[in-house]
Symmetry: C2
Subunit: 285 residues, 2 copies
Protein backbone atom coordinates (compact mmCIF):
# COMPACT_ATOMS: atom_id res chain seq x y z
CA UNK A 1 0.00 0.00 0.00
CA UNK A 2 1.44 3.37 -0.95
CA UNK A 3 0.09 6.91 -1.06
CA UNK A 4 1.28 10.13 -2.63
CA UNK A 5 0.04 13.68 -3.02
CA UNK A 6 0.38 15.69 -6.23
CA UNK A 7 0.51 19.48 -6.10
CA UNK A 8 2.58 20.13 -9.25
CA UNK A 9 2.56 23.64 -10.68
CA UNK A 10 1.82 24.16 -13.53
CA UNK A 11 -0.83 21.42 -13.93
CA UNK A 12 0.20 20.82 -17.55
CA UNK A 13 3.85 20.79 -18.61
CA UNK A 14 5.86 19.51 -21.58
CA UNK A 15 5.58 15.73 -21.55
CA UNK A 16 2.89 15.35 -18.92
CA UNK A 17 0.36 16.73 -16.47
CA UNK A 18 -0.79 16.24 -12.87
CA UNK A 19 -3.08 13.36 -13.88
CA UNK A 20 -0.34 11.25 -15.49
CA UNK A 21 2.00 12.07 -12.59
CA UNK A 22 -0.58 10.92 -10.05
CA UNK A 23 -1.17 7.54 -11.69
CA UNK A 24 2.38 6.77 -12.82
CA UNK A 25 3.93 8.03 -9.59
CA UNK A 26 1.86 5.64 -7.50
CA UNK A 27 2.31 2.73 -9.91
CA UNK A 28 6.06 3.36 -9.83
CA UNK A 29 6.16 3.46 -6.04
CA UNK A 30 4.57 0.00 -6.03
CA UNK A 31 6.72 -1.57 -8.73
CA UNK A 32 10.05 -0.48 -7.24
CA UNK A 33 9.03 -2.37 -4.08
CA UNK A 34 8.56 -5.51 -6.18
CA UNK A 35 4.75 -5.32 -6.18
CA UNK A 36 2.34 -5.79 -9.07
CA UNK A 37 -0.07 -2.81 -9.00
CA UNK A 38 -3.67 -3.98 -8.40
CA UNK A 39 -5.95 -1.06 -7.44
CA UNK A 40 -5.86 2.72 -7.22
CA UNK A 41 -7.91 5.23 -5.27
CA UNK A 42 -8.12 8.87 -6.17
CA UNK A 43 -8.83 11.95 -4.06
CA UNK A 44 -9.32 15.42 -5.52
CA UNK A 45 -9.22 18.77 -3.77
CA UNK A 46 -10.48 21.34 -6.26
CA UNK A 47 -10.48 25.11 -6.00
CA UNK A 48 -13.85 26.68 -6.72
CA UNK A 49 -13.66 28.33 -10.13
CA UNK A 50 -11.34 25.75 -11.71
CA UNK A 51 -12.51 25.63 -15.33
CA UNK A 52 -14.45 22.42 -15.98
CA UNK A 53 -12.38 21.97 -19.14
CA UNK A 54 -9.22 21.75 -17.02
CA UNK A 55 -10.85 19.16 -14.76
CA UNK A 56 -11.98 17.22 -17.83
CA UNK A 57 -8.46 17.18 -19.25
CA UNK A 58 -6.99 16.01 -15.95
CA UNK A 59 -9.61 13.27 -15.55
CA UNK A 60 -9.12 12.06 -19.15
CA UNK A 61 -5.40 12.00 -18.58
CA UNK A 62 -5.91 9.90 -15.44
CA UNK A 63 -8.18 7.53 -17.36
CA UNK A 64 -5.61 7.07 -20.13
CA UNK A 65 -2.77 6.63 -17.68
CA UNK A 66 -4.68 4.03 -15.65
CA UNK A 67 -5.54 2.12 -18.84
CA UNK A 68 -1.92 2.14 -19.93
CA UNK A 69 -0.98 0.56 -16.60
CA UNK A 70 -4.03 -1.77 -16.61
CA UNK A 71 -4.88 -0.61 -13.11
CA UNK A 72 -8.51 -0.01 -12.13
CA UNK A 73 -9.46 3.06 -10.12
CA UNK A 74 -11.77 1.50 -7.56
CA UNK A 75 -12.80 4.45 -5.42
CA UNK A 76 -12.47 8.21 -5.18
CA UNK A 77 -13.49 11.39 -3.46
CA UNK A 78 -13.88 15.01 -4.49
CA UNK A 79 -13.81 18.05 -2.24
CA UNK A 80 -14.30 21.61 -3.47
CA UNK A 81 -12.82 24.46 -1.42
CA UNK A 82 -13.54 28.18 -1.91
CA UNK A 83 -11.53 30.21 -4.37
CA UNK A 84 -8.13 30.97 -2.88
CA UNK A 85 -8.22 28.03 -0.42
CA UNK A 86 -6.32 25.74 -2.82
CA UNK A 87 -4.29 26.25 -5.98
CA UNK A 88 -6.29 24.76 -8.87
CA UNK A 89 -6.33 21.05 -8.11
CA UNK A 90 -4.51 18.73 -5.74
CA UNK A 91 -4.64 14.95 -6.13
CA UNK A 92 -3.88 12.11 -3.73
CA UNK A 93 -3.58 8.60 -5.05
CA UNK A 94 -3.28 5.44 -3.01
CA UNK A 95 -2.19 2.20 -4.64
CA UNK A 96 -2.43 -1.40 -3.55
CA UNK A 97 -0.15 -4.04 -4.98
CA UNK A 98 0.61 -7.71 -4.51
CA UNK A 99 4.24 -8.65 -3.86
CA UNK A 100 5.73 -10.68 -6.66
CA UNK A 101 6.72 -14.05 -5.21
CA UNK A 102 10.44 -14.67 -4.81
CA UNK A 103 11.45 -11.00 -4.94
CA UNK A 104 14.00 -9.92 -2.35
CA UNK A 105 14.89 -6.24 -2.70
CA UNK A 106 16.41 -3.81 -0.27
CA UNK A 107 19.53 -2.19 1.10
CA UNK A 108 20.36 -5.46 2.91
CA UNK A 109 21.07 -7.06 -0.48
CA UNK A 110 23.56 -4.39 -1.60
CA UNK A 111 27.26 -5.41 -1.51
CA UNK A 112 30.57 -3.75 -2.38
CA UNK A 113 31.27 -4.28 -6.08
CA UNK A 114 27.55 -4.07 -7.05
CA UNK A 115 26.86 -1.90 -10.07
CA UNK A 116 24.57 1.15 -10.19
CA UNK A 117 22.43 1.59 -13.32
CA UNK A 118 19.97 4.25 -14.38
CA UNK A 119 17.30 3.48 -16.96
CA UNK A 120 17.86 6.63 -19.05
CA UNK A 121 18.64 10.33 -19.10
CA UNK A 122 18.18 12.03 -15.75
CA UNK A 123 16.73 15.37 -14.59
CA UNK A 124 14.27 15.67 -17.50
CA UNK A 125 11.19 16.11 -15.28
CA UNK A 126 12.56 18.76 -12.94
CA UNK A 127 14.01 20.83 -15.76
CA UNK A 128 10.80 20.55 -17.82
CA UNK A 129 8.75 21.82 -14.85
CA UNK A 130 11.21 24.61 -14.21
CA UNK A 131 11.17 25.72 -17.83
CA UNK A 132 7.34 25.59 -17.98
CA UNK A 133 7.05 27.54 -14.75
CA UNK A 134 9.60 30.19 -15.56
CA UNK A 135 8.71 30.48 -19.25
CA UNK A 136 12.24 29.47 -20.31
CA UNK A 137 12.29 28.38 -23.92
CA UNK A 138 14.65 25.43 -23.89
CA UNK A 139 13.33 23.95 -27.13
CA UNK A 140 10.74 21.29 -27.94
CA UNK A 141 13.16 18.47 -27.09
CA UNK A 142 12.86 19.23 -23.38
CA UNK A 143 10.10 17.01 -22.02
CA UNK A 144 9.28 15.52 -18.66
CA UNK A 145 10.03 11.79 -18.54
CA UNK A 146 6.70 11.05 -16.76
CA UNK A 147 6.27 7.32 -17.52
CA UNK A 148 5.08 4.16 -15.80
CA UNK A 149 7.86 1.72 -15.01
CA UNK A 150 5.83 -1.46 -14.51
CA UNK A 151 6.91 -3.08 -17.77
CA UNK A 152 10.55 -2.17 -17.34
CA UNK A 153 10.61 -3.66 -13.84
CA UNK A 154 8.60 -6.72 -14.87
CA UNK A 155 11.06 -7.50 -17.63
CA UNK A 156 14.01 -7.24 -15.22
CA UNK A 157 12.31 -9.78 -12.97
CA UNK A 158 11.16 -11.97 -15.86
CA UNK A 159 14.76 -12.12 -17.09
CA UNK A 160 15.69 -13.59 -13.71
CA UNK A 161 18.19 -10.81 -13.12
CA UNK A 162 19.03 -10.76 -9.43
CA UNK A 163 18.14 -7.13 -8.69
CA UNK A 164 19.41 -6.08 -5.26
CA UNK A 165 17.78 -2.67 -5.02
CA UNK A 166 15.32 -0.60 -7.06
CA UNK A 167 14.13 2.96 -6.65
CA UNK A 168 12.55 5.66 -8.79
CA UNK A 169 14.63 8.81 -8.24
CA UNK A 170 11.93 11.49 -7.89
CA UNK A 171 12.34 14.38 -5.41
CA UNK A 172 16.04 14.91 -4.71
CA UNK A 173 17.00 12.97 -7.83
CA UNK A 174 19.55 10.18 -8.15
CA UNK A 175 21.59 11.81 -5.39
CA UNK A 176 18.80 11.43 -2.79
CA UNK A 177 18.34 7.73 -3.63
CA UNK A 178 22.07 7.01 -3.37
CA UNK A 179 22.46 8.96 -0.12
CA UNK A 180 19.59 7.01 1.43
CA UNK A 181 21.20 3.79 0.26
CA UNK A 182 24.59 4.80 1.64
CA UNK A 183 23.01 5.72 4.98
CA UNK A 184 21.17 2.38 5.15
CA UNK A 185 24.11 0.19 4.10
CA UNK A 186 27.09 2.13 5.51
CA UNK A 187 28.66 1.62 2.10
CA UNK A 188 29.93 4.22 -0.37
CA UNK A 189 28.77 4.83 -3.91
CA UNK A 190 31.18 5.97 -6.62
CA UNK A 191 29.58 7.45 -9.72
CA UNK A 192 31.31 8.08 -13.03
CA UNK A 193 30.14 11.53 -14.14
CA UNK A 194 30.80 10.90 -17.82
CA UNK A 195 28.56 7.82 -17.79
CA UNK A 196 25.47 9.63 -16.48
CA UNK A 197 23.06 9.99 -19.41
CA UNK A 198 21.85 13.55 -19.95
CA UNK A 199 19.68 15.01 -22.72
CA UNK A 200 21.45 17.91 -24.40
CA UNK A 201 18.86 20.58 -23.48
CA UNK A 202 18.93 19.38 -19.86
CA UNK A 203 22.73 19.55 -19.79
CA UNK A 204 22.53 23.08 -21.20
CA UNK A 205 19.82 24.18 -18.78
CA UNK A 206 21.68 22.75 -15.79
CA UNK A 207 24.89 24.55 -16.81
CA UNK A 208 23.01 27.79 -17.39
CA UNK A 209 21.12 27.60 -14.08
CA UNK A 210 23.89 26.15 -11.97
CA UNK A 211 21.94 22.97 -11.12
CA UNK A 212 23.53 19.56 -10.66
CA UNK A 213 21.33 17.11 -12.62
CA UNK A 214 22.01 14.44 -10.00
CA UNK A 215 19.77 16.43 -7.63
CA UNK A 216 16.95 17.11 -10.09
CA UNK A 217 13.71 15.07 -10.02
CA UNK A 218 12.75 12.32 -12.46
CA UNK A 219 9.30 10.78 -12.94
CA UNK A 220 10.01 7.82 -15.16
CA UNK A 221 13.45 6.53 -14.34
CA UNK A 222 14.84 3.66 -12.33
CA UNK A 223 17.97 3.34 -10.26
CA UNK A 224 18.85 -0.36 -10.39
CA UNK A 225 21.55 -2.05 -8.33
CA UNK A 226 22.71 -5.53 -9.26
CA UNK A 227 25.70 -7.76 -8.66
CA UNK A 228 28.57 -6.92 -10.97
CA UNK A 229 28.08 -10.19 -12.89
CA UNK A 230 24.46 -9.30 -13.73
CA UNK A 231 25.03 -5.67 -14.65
CA UNK A 232 25.53 -6.08 -18.40
CA UNK A 233 22.50 -8.35 -18.66
CA UNK A 234 20.39 -5.85 -16.71
CA UNK A 235 21.61 -3.08 -19.01
CA UNK A 236 20.67 -5.06 -22.12
CA UNK A 237 17.25 -5.81 -20.62
CA UNK A 238 16.54 -2.14 -19.86
CA UNK A 239 17.69 -1.06 -23.34
CA UNK A 240 15.06 -3.29 -24.98
CA UNK A 241 12.33 -0.94 -23.78
CA UNK A 242 11.47 2.42 -25.28
CA UNK A 243 11.80 4.07 -21.87
CA UNK A 244 15.11 2.31 -21.15
CA UNK A 245 16.96 2.85 -24.42
CA UNK A 246 19.45 5.22 -22.86
CA UNK A 247 20.09 3.13 -19.77
CA UNK A 248 23.65 3.16 -18.50
CA UNK A 249 25.89 1.74 -15.81
CA UNK A 250 26.86 4.87 -13.91
CA UNK A 251 28.80 3.64 -10.91
CA UNK A 252 29.43 1.04 -8.28
CA UNK A 253 29.14 0.31 -4.59
CA UNK A 254 32.39 0.54 -2.64
CA UNK A 255 33.37 -0.32 0.91
CA UNK A 256 35.51 2.80 1.51
CA UNK A 257 34.88 4.71 4.73
CA UNK A 258 33.34 6.99 5.78
CA UNK A 259 30.29 5.96 3.75
CA UNK A 260 29.58 8.69 1.22
CA UNK A 261 28.46 9.31 -2.34
CA UNK A 262 31.34 10.28 -4.61
CA UNK A 263 31.51 11.37 -8.23
CA UNK A 264 34.54 10.75 -10.44
CA UNK A 265 34.89 13.77 -12.71
CA UNK A 266 36.07 13.84 -16.34
CA UNK A 267 39.71 14.12 -15.23
CA UNK A 268 39.47 11.28 -12.72
CA UNK A 269 39.24 13.33 -9.53
CA UNK A 270 36.69 12.27 -6.92
CA UNK A 271 34.37 14.81 -5.36
CA UNK A 272 31.86 14.27 -2.58
CA UNK A 273 28.21 14.65 -3.53
CA UNK A 274 26.49 16.45 -0.65
CA UNK A 275 23.16 15.24 0.67
CA UNK A 276 20.23 17.15 -0.92
CA UNK A 277 18.88 19.70 1.55
CA UNK A 278 15.78 21.85 1.39
CA UNK A 279 13.76 21.92 -1.82
CA UNK A 280 15.64 23.76 -4.56
CA UNK A 281 12.62 23.24 -6.79
CA UNK A 282 9.30 22.96 -4.92
CA UNK A 283 6.01 21.61 -6.34
CA UNK A 284 7.67 19.46 -8.97
CA UNK A 285 5.13 16.68 -8.41
Amino acid sequence: MTTDGYVVSPLFFPGGDIGKLAVYGTVNDLVVCGAEPLYLSLGFIIEEGLPLEVLRQVVCSIRDAARLCSIPIVTGDTKVVPRGAADGIFIHTTGIGRMRPGINLGPHRVQPGDRVLVSGTIADHGIAILSAREGLDLGPALQSDTTPLHELVRSLFDSAIDVHFLRDPTRGGVSAVLHELSDATHLSVVLDELSVPLAEPVRGACELLGLDPLYVANEGKLVVITASKDAERALACLKQHACGREAAIIGEIASMTPPQVLVRGPLGALRVLDEPTGAPLPRIC
Copy 2:
Protein backbone atom coordinates in the same frame (compact mmCIF):
# COMPACT_ATOMS: atom_id res chain seq x y z
CA MET B 1 -10.92 0.19 -0.19
CA THR B 2 -12.22 3.67 0.46
CA THR B 3 -10.75 7.15 0.26
CA ASP B 4 -11.83 10.54 1.55
CA GLY B 5 -10.45 14.08 1.63
CA TYR B 6 -10.73 16.36 4.64
CA VAL B 7 -10.72 20.13 4.18
CA VAL B 8 -12.74 21.12 7.24
CA SER B 9 -12.62 24.72 8.37
CA PRO B 10 -11.86 25.48 11.18
CA LEU B 11 -9.30 22.70 11.80
CA PHE B 12 -10.36 22.46 15.47
CA PHE B 13 -13.99 22.65 16.51
CA PRO B 14 -16.08 21.71 19.56
CA GLY B 15 -15.95 17.93 19.86
CA GLY B 16 -13.25 17.22 17.28
CA ASP B 17 -10.67 18.28 14.76
CA ILE B 18 -9.53 17.45 11.23
CA GLY B 19 -7.35 14.59 12.49
CA LYS B 20 -10.16 12.72 14.25
CA LEU B 21 -12.48 13.37 11.30
CA ALA B 22 -9.93 11.92 8.88
CA VAL B 23 -9.47 8.68 10.81
CA TYR B 24 -13.05 8.14 11.98
CA GLY B 25 -14.54 9.16 8.64
CA THR B 26 -12.58 6.52 6.78
CA VAL B 27 -13.12 3.86 9.44
CA ASN B 28 -16.85 4.61 9.31
CA ASP B 29 -16.94 4.38 5.51
CA LEU B 30 -15.48 0.88 5.81
CA VAL B 31 -17.69 -0.38 8.64
CA VAL B 32 -20.97 0.71 7.05
CA CYS B 33 -20.02 -1.50 4.07
CA GLY B 34 -19.66 -4.46 6.44
CA ALA B 35 -15.86 -4.41 6.43
CA GLU B 36 -13.46 -4.70 9.36
CA PRO B 37 -10.95 -1.83 9.02
CA LEU B 38 -7.40 -3.17 8.52
CA TYR B 39 -5.03 -0.44 7.33
CA LEU B 40 -4.97 3.32 6.78
CA SER B 41 -2.81 5.55 4.62
CA LEU B 42 -2.48 9.27 5.21
CA GLY B 43 -1.65 12.12 2.82
CA PHE B 44 -1.03 15.68 3.98
CA ILE B 45 -1.02 18.87 1.95
CA ILE B 46 0.33 21.60 4.21
CA GLU B 47 0.49 25.33 3.61
CA GLU B 48 3.91 26.83 4.19
CA GLY B 49 3.77 28.78 7.45
CA LEU B 50 1.36 26.44 9.26
CA PRO B 51 2.53 26.58 12.88
CA LEU B 52 4.36 23.38 13.81
CA GLU B 53 2.27 23.29 16.99
CA VAL B 54 -0.89 22.98 14.88
CA LEU B 55 0.63 20.15 12.86
CA ARG B 56 1.72 18.45 16.08
CA GLN B 57 -1.81 18.66 17.50
CA VAL B 58 -3.33 17.26 14.32
CA VAL B 59 -0.82 14.40 14.16
CA CYS B 60 -1.35 13.54 17.85
CA SER B 61 -5.08 13.56 17.29
CA ILE B 62 -4.64 11.18 14.35
CA ARG B 63 -2.44 8.91 16.48
CA ASP B 64 -5.03 8.78 19.28
CA ALA B 65 -7.90 8.23 16.84
CA ALA B 66 -6.09 5.40 15.06
CA ARG B 67 -5.28 3.75 18.41
CA LEU B 68 -8.90 4.00 19.48
CA CYS B 69 -9.92 2.16 16.30
CA SER B 70 -6.95 -0.27 16.52
CA ILE B 71 -6.06 0.55 12.93
CA PRO B 72 -2.41 0.93 11.91
CA ILE B 73 -1.36 3.79 9.63
CA VAL B 74 0.90 1.92 7.24
CA THR B 75 2.04 4.63 4.84
CA GLY B 76 1.85 8.36 4.29
CA ASP B 77 2.97 11.34 2.28
CA THR B 78 3.49 15.03 3.01
CA LYS B 79 3.53 17.86 0.50
CA VAL B 80 4.16 21.48 1.40
CA VAL B 81 2.79 24.19 -0.89
CA PRO B 82 3.64 27.90 -0.73
CA ARG B 83 1.72 30.23 1.55
CA GLY B 84 -1.64 30.99 -0.01
CA ALA B 85 -1.68 27.84 -2.21
CA ALA B 86 -3.66 25.84 0.38
CA ASP B 87 -5.65 26.69 3.48
CA GLY B 88 -3.72 25.38 6.48
CA ILE B 89 -3.82 21.62 6.07
CA PHE B 90 -5.72 19.17 3.91
CA ILE B 91 -5.74 15.44 4.62
CA HIS B 92 -6.59 12.43 2.48
CA THR B 93 -7.03 9.05 4.10
CA THR B 94 -7.44 5.74 2.35
CA GLY B 95 -8.64 2.71 4.24
CA ILE B 96 -8.54 -0.99 3.48
CA GLY B 97 -10.91 -3.41 5.12
CA ARG B 98 -11.81 -7.07 4.99
CA MET B 99 -15.47 -7.93 4.43
CA ARG B 100 -17.02 -9.66 7.40
CA PRO B 101 -18.13 -13.11 6.26
CA GLY B 102 -21.87 -13.63 5.88
CA ILE B 103 -22.74 -9.94 5.69
CA ASN B 104 -25.24 -9.00 3.00
CA LEU B 105 -26.00 -5.29 3.01
CA GLY B 106 -27.43 -3.04 0.35
CA PRO B 107 -30.48 -1.44 -1.17
CA HIS B 108 -31.41 -4.82 -2.69
CA ARG B 109 -32.19 -6.08 0.84
CA VAL B 110 -34.59 -3.24 1.68
CA GLN B 111 -38.33 -4.12 1.67
CA PRO B 112 -41.58 -2.28 2.38
CA GLY B 113 -42.28 -2.45 6.10
CA ASP B 114 -38.58 -2.29 7.07
CA ARG B 115 -37.81 0.12 9.90
CA VAL B 116 -35.42 3.08 9.75
CA LEU B 117 -33.26 3.72 12.83
CA VAL B 118 -30.70 6.37 13.69
CA SER B 119 -28.09 5.74 16.34
CA GLY B 120 -28.55 9.08 18.12
CA THR B 121 -29.17 12.81 17.85
CA ILE B 122 -28.66 14.19 14.37
CA ALA B 123 -27.10 17.35 12.93
CA ASP B 124 -24.62 17.82 15.81
CA HIS B 125 -21.54 17.95 13.57
CA GLY B 126 -22.79 20.42 11.00
CA ILE B 127 -24.18 22.80 13.61
CA ALA B 128 -20.98 22.57 15.71
CA ILE B 129 -18.88 23.50 12.65
CA LEU B 130 -21.23 26.32 11.75
CA SER B 131 -21.17 27.75 15.26
CA ALA B 132 -17.36 27.48 15.45
CA ARG B 133 -16.97 29.14 12.05
CA GLU B 134 -19.43 31.95 12.62
CA GLY B 135 -18.55 32.52 16.26
CA LEU B 136 -22.09 31.74 17.38
CA ASP B 137 -22.19 30.97 21.08
CA LEU B 138 -24.67 28.11 21.30
CA GLY B 139 -23.41 26.90 24.65
CA PRO B 140 -20.90 24.22 25.71
CA ALA B 141 -23.41 21.41 25.11
CA LEU B 142 -23.08 21.83 21.36
CA GLN B 143 -20.38 19.41 20.22
CA SER B 144 -19.64 17.60 16.99
CA ASP B 145 -20.52 13.91 17.20
CA THR B 146 -17.21 12.88 15.52
CA THR B 147 -16.93 9.24 16.60
CA PRO B 148 -15.85 5.89 15.19
CA LEU B 149 -18.71 3.48 14.59
CA HIS B 150 -16.79 0.21 14.39
CA GLU B 151 -17.93 -1.08 17.79
CA LEU B 152 -21.54 -0.09 17.26
CA VAL B 153 -21.65 -1.88 13.91
CA ARG B 154 -19.76 -4.89 15.22
CA SER B 155 -22.24 -5.34 18.02
CA LEU B 156 -25.18 -5.20 15.58
CA PHE B 157 -23.57 -7.98 13.56
CA ASP B 158 -22.49 -9.95 16.65
CA SER B 159 -26.11 -9.87 17.87
CA ALA B 160 -27.09 -11.61 14.63
CA ILE B 161 -29.47 -8.80 13.77
CA ASP B 162 -30.31 -9.04 10.09
CA VAL B 163 -29.29 -5.53 9.04
CA HIS B 164 -30.52 -4.73 5.53
CA PHE B 165 -28.76 -1.42 4.98
CA LEU B 166 -26.24 0.73 6.87
CA ARG B 167 -24.91 4.19 6.14
CA ASP B 168 -23.24 7.03 8.04
CA PRO B 169 -25.21 10.17 7.19
CA THR B 170 -22.41 12.72 6.62
CA ARG B 171 -22.72 15.39 3.89
CA GLY B 172 -26.40 15.99 3.12
CA GLY B 173 -27.42 14.37 6.41
CA VAL B 174 -30.06 11.71 6.95
CA SER B 175 -32.04 13.14 4.05
CA ALA B 176 -29.26 12.44 1.51
CA VAL B 177 -28.94 8.81 2.68
CA LEU B 178 -32.69 8.21 2.45
CA HIS B 179 -32.98 9.87 -0.94
CA GLU B 180 -30.19 7.70 -2.31
CA LEU B 181 -31.92 4.67 -0.86
CA SER B 182 -35.27 5.66 -2.35
CA ASP B 183 -33.64 6.22 -5.75
CA ALA B 184 -31.93 2.82 -5.60
CA THR B 185 -34.94 0.83 -4.39
CA HIS B 186 -37.85 2.74 -6.00
CA LEU B 187 -39.43 2.60 -2.56
CA SER B 188 -40.62 5.44 -0.35
CA VAL B 189 -39.45 6.33 3.15
CA VAL B 190 -41.84 7.78 5.72
CA LEU B 191 -40.20 9.48 8.70
CA ASP B 192 -41.91 10.48 11.91
CA GLU B 193 -40.64 13.97 12.72
CA LEU B 194 -41.31 13.70 16.44
CA SER B 195 -39.18 10.54 16.68
CA VAL B 196 -36.03 12.11 15.25
CA PRO B 197 -33.61 12.64 18.17
CA LEU B 198 -32.28 16.20 18.40
CA ALA B 199 -30.07 17.80 21.04
CA GLU B 200 -31.74 20.91 22.44
CA PRO B 201 -29.05 23.39 21.32
CA VAL B 202 -29.15 21.89 17.82
CA ARG B 203 -32.93 22.17 17.69
CA GLY B 204 -32.60 25.81 18.78
CA ALA B 205 -29.85 26.59 16.28
CA CYS B 206 -31.76 24.97 13.42
CA GLU B 207 -34.90 26.96 14.25
CA LEU B 208 -32.90 30.17 14.55
CA LEU B 209 -31.01 29.62 11.30
CA GLY B 210 -33.85 28.10 9.30
CA LEU B 211 -32.01 24.79 8.75
CA ASP B 212 -33.70 21.40 8.58
CA PRO B 213 -31.61 19.06 10.77
CA LEU B 214 -32.38 16.18 8.39
CA TYR B 215 -30.06 17.89 5.87
CA VAL B 216 -27.24 18.67 8.27
CA ALA B 217 -24.06 16.54 8.42
CA ASN B 218 -23.22 13.99 11.10
CA GLU B 219 -19.83 12.38 11.71
CA GLY B 220 -20.64 9.66 14.21
CA LYS B 221 -24.13 8.41 13.47
CA LEU B 222 -25.60 5.42 11.74
CA VAL B 223 -28.72 5.02 9.67
CA VAL B 224 -29.76 1.39 10.13
CA ILE B 225 -32.50 -0.38 8.21
CA THR B 226 -33.79 -3.74 9.43
CA ALA B 227 -36.86 -5.89 9.01
CA SER B 228 -39.71 -4.75 11.22
CA LYS B 229 -39.36 -7.86 13.42
CA ASP B 230 -35.70 -7.02 14.19
CA ALA B 231 -36.16 -3.30 14.81
CA GLU B 232 -36.67 -3.36 18.57
CA ARG B 233 -33.73 -5.71 19.04
CA ALA B 234 -31.52 -3.46 16.89
CA LEU B 235 -32.63 -0.46 18.93
CA ALA B 236 -31.76 -2.19 22.20
CA CYS B 237 -28.39 -3.19 20.80
CA LEU B 238 -27.56 0.38 19.74
CA LYS B 239 -28.66 1.79 23.09
CA GLN B 240 -26.13 -0.37 24.94
CA HIS B 241 -23.31 1.77 23.54
CA ALA B 242 -22.33 5.22 24.77
CA CYS B 243 -22.58 6.57 21.22
CA GLY B 244 -25.95 4.87 20.62
CA ARG B 245 -27.77 5.76 23.82
CA GLU B 246 -30.19 8.07 22.05
CA ALA B 247 -30.90 5.75 19.15
CA ALA B 248 -34.45 5.78 17.85
CA ILE B 249 -36.73 4.20 15.28
CA ILE B 250 -37.57 7.18 13.10
CA GLY B 251 -39.56 5.76 10.22
CA GLU B 252 -40.28 2.96 7.82
CA ILE B 253 -39.99 1.90 4.23
CA ALA B 254 -43.22 2.07 2.23
CA SER B 255 -44.22 0.94 -1.22
CA MET B 256 -46.24 4.04 -2.11
CA THR B 257 -45.54 5.63 -5.50
CA PRO B 258 -43.93 7.75 -6.73
CA PRO B 259 -40.90 6.81 -4.60
CA GLN B 260 -40.10 9.73 -2.33
CA VAL B 261 -38.98 10.64 1.16
CA LEU B 262 -41.83 11.89 3.33
CA VAL B 263 -41.97 13.32 6.83
CA ARG B 264 -45.02 13.00 9.08
CA GLY B 265 -45.26 16.23 11.06
CA PRO B 266 -46.46 16.65 14.66
CA LEU B 267 -50.09 16.97 13.48
CA GLY B 268 -49.94 13.91 11.26
CA ALA B 269 -49.63 15.65 7.90
CA LEU B 270 -47.11 14.26 5.41
CA ARG B 271 -44.69 16.58 3.65
CA VAL B 272 -42.18 15.69 0.94
CA LEU B 273 -38.53 16.03 1.88
CA ASP B 274 -36.76 17.51 -1.14
CA GLU B 275 -33.48 16.08 -2.33
CA PRO B 276 -30.51 18.01 -0.90
CA THR B 277 -29.04 20.27 -3.57
CA GLY B 278 -25.90 22.34 -3.57
CA ALA B 279 -23.87 22.65 -0.38
CA PRO B 280 -25.68 24.79 2.20
CA LEU B 281 -22.67 24.36 4.48
CA PRO B 282 -19.35 23.80 2.65
CA ARG B 283 -16.12 22.46 4.21
CA ILE B 284 -17.87 20.63 7.01
CA CYS B 285 -15.43 17.72 6.71
